[in-house]
């Protein structure tokens, strides 16, 4: 197992190097004047662009420029993001926790619903419940998240006034940014609990529900399908027949015997889904005006804030690669056959 983990992690730095090279090459589509903004730390420097181009050799060959940029990157200098109004590193620190919080709030109900409904669908294969669940899951799976998000906002924000966009409301803003409120993790709900501030906790949770529900609907649909087919496979195996022959109750056979084994692929798919949410948040954060890295990345792309775009995509790729690696390791841990390929 250790050997597998080592072999899998050994590739990581190489892939990340490739990622930085790909992103840097993409910036070469832009003119040197536009790329100069990468080297601006302060908006006041905007007047001296010609000087910056000369100083940083923005007309040099690609590889030389890339080497120089990589050196800056390794020192953590990512430039100044105009859309965020702060250096890229601070922007990542400010926005990433919100995204992670949203992703965690999404994956928990996804797992729960996926396992529960998927198992139910498999147990009642070809009965009405199964047909309804299958039809429901393909419907949800085909639903564009941005349409669903807007419709949910229309109902729960416009009509009922239960939830609103953003990460917290105006009143909470004073408390969160006030002095006594301490930020331990950056995850607002967790921080609120640690501060024992129930108002903030309730407010933050209320703002998470709608975007998380929107993201959850599409992901849960996929999870139901995975759980269903995995459960069907287990239910057809000999040990299930043995368990039944021994006279165990149907509930024990289904949940304690087949269910336990059927969950393994679901857990690995769930870790992949969690990583994939990083793509989903790009749209959902924009719809719900949720201040995470996705919304920042999109507005950076719209306004050609190159340091912002690069910082956002580098960060996402890093999380994506690391997350996929964890999923692979989980998979190998659950299924030893994978390790010896």
């Amino acid at each position: 197992m250790l050997k597998f983990i080592l072999r899998r992690t050994a590739l990581l730095p190489l892939v990340m190097l490739g990622v930085t090279f790909l992103l840097f090459s993409l910036t070469q589509i832009l003119s040197p004047e536009m790329r100069a903004s990468l080297y601006i730390k302060d908006p006041r420097q905007l007047d001296s662009i010609a000087q910056i181009i000369k100083e940083h050799g923005l007309n040099d060959p690609l590889l030389i420029q890339y080497g120089r940029w990589l050196k800056r990157l390794s020192r953590g200098e990512l430039g100044y993001s105009e859309t965020a109004n702060m250096p890229v590193t601070s922007a990542i620190k400010a926005y990433l926790p919100a995204t992670l919080e949203l992703a965690v709030a999404t994956i928990i109900p996804v797992l729960f619903l996926g396992i529960w409904l998927g198992a139910m669908s498999a147990v009642r294969k070809d009965k009405l419940t199964d047909h309804l669940l299958r039809a429901g899951s393909i419907t949800c799976y085909s639903m564009p998240v941005f349409v669903l998000g807007l419709v949910l906002l229309m109902i729960f924000y416009g009509k009922l006034g239960w939830f609103s966009p953003g990460r917290y409301s105006m009143d909470t803003d004073f408390i969160v940014n006030g002095d006594p409120f301490r930020h331990f993790t950056g995850l607002l709900t967790v921080d609120a609990l640690l501060n024992r501030n129930w108002t903030v906790f309730w407010d933050a949770a209320k703002h998470l529900i709608l975007p998380a529900a929107t993201l959850c609907i599409g992901s849960a649909a996929l999870m139901i399908r995975v759980m269903r087919s995995s459960m069907l496979e287990e239910l057809g195996k000999d040990y299930v027949r043995t368990a039944r022959a021994k006279g165990l109750s149907e509930w024990r056979v289904i949940y304690l015997h087949a269910g336990k084994n059927a969950i393994i692929p679901v857990i690995t798919i769930a870790s992949l889904q969690f990583v994939r949410l990083l793509g989903g948040v790009v749209i959902i954060e924009t719809v719900f005006d949720f201040p995470g890295i996705g919304r920042w990345g999109v507005s950076a792309a719209q306004q050609l804030d190159i340091p912002g775009v690069l910082g956002f995509s580098l960060m996402t790729a890093m999380l994506f690669v690391a997350g996929n690696m964890v999923a692979d390791i989980l998979y190998a841990w659950a299924d030893p056959r994978i390790r010896y390929q």
Binding site: V15, L22, S142, F146, V147, M154, V275
Partner: protein, 293 residues
Amino acid sequence: MFKLNARTFNRIKSNKASLAGFVIVSFFALTALFAPFLAPAEQGANPYMMPQTGYSSEPAPPSKTHWLGTAEQQYDIYHGVVWGARTAFKTGLGIVLISVLVGIILGGLAGYAGGKTDEALMRITDIVLSFPSIVLAVVIVAMLGPGLYKVMIALAAVSWPAYARLVRGDVLTIKQRDYVTAAKALGAGHGRILFRHILPNSIYPVIVVASLDTGAVVLTAAALSFLGLGSPVGYSDWGQLIAMSRNWILGTAGNPFAYWYTVVMPGLAIFLFVLGWNLMGDAFRDIADPKQY
């Protein structure tokens, strides 16, 4: 993988879900085909641009002149939905075609040549697959500047690696077959072996699977348009129509759903389009991999 033969077609025909999907997709195809008759544009005007009647920013509900109502700035939603079907087919099939072509060439090359070429090409696919596809697409569009064709380029650039890997895997097994060895023994050149003997036996499944991904691709393209990175304002594009509706989700004081049609009409179009492709795709995958029940 499956073979395209009479048995496969019979199984597709007997699957009600795939039939429903086929009907939905055909409906959109007919809409796209007959768009000039369903929603004729004014003489000399670009038919893809939604006609604007008036300059009020407030959307107007469905009426006799505007069957599906108007979006903000009085863009006709009906016209946008009809011509949007054309945009959807154009972007979807365009992206799939480019990415499959690139995937087949590079994947075939990697699988056939093996060794360093294979290693290098596969590491490139690793790098592209290190991003959630929409994130890399957003970066590419940001660099190229917004526009429908740029969205197509960006999405093709992020989707070819998946096909390249698929083709490579197939080529790796097929090149071990006896008839390939026989062709080599007869003195056939590399080009002939790859293009005449190996690829024709490995690309059809890839093409079918890929074409069924059209729904997903159109969804991502619509998402990019929604984010303001796609077609120009006023272009018939479902994603953009929905972006326009974002300011109108709140309705008026007495009627919270006053502007429901601005979201629901184009939203329904995207949803049904994607659903149709997914229903067809699902049936194909069931047939391709019967193990999955």
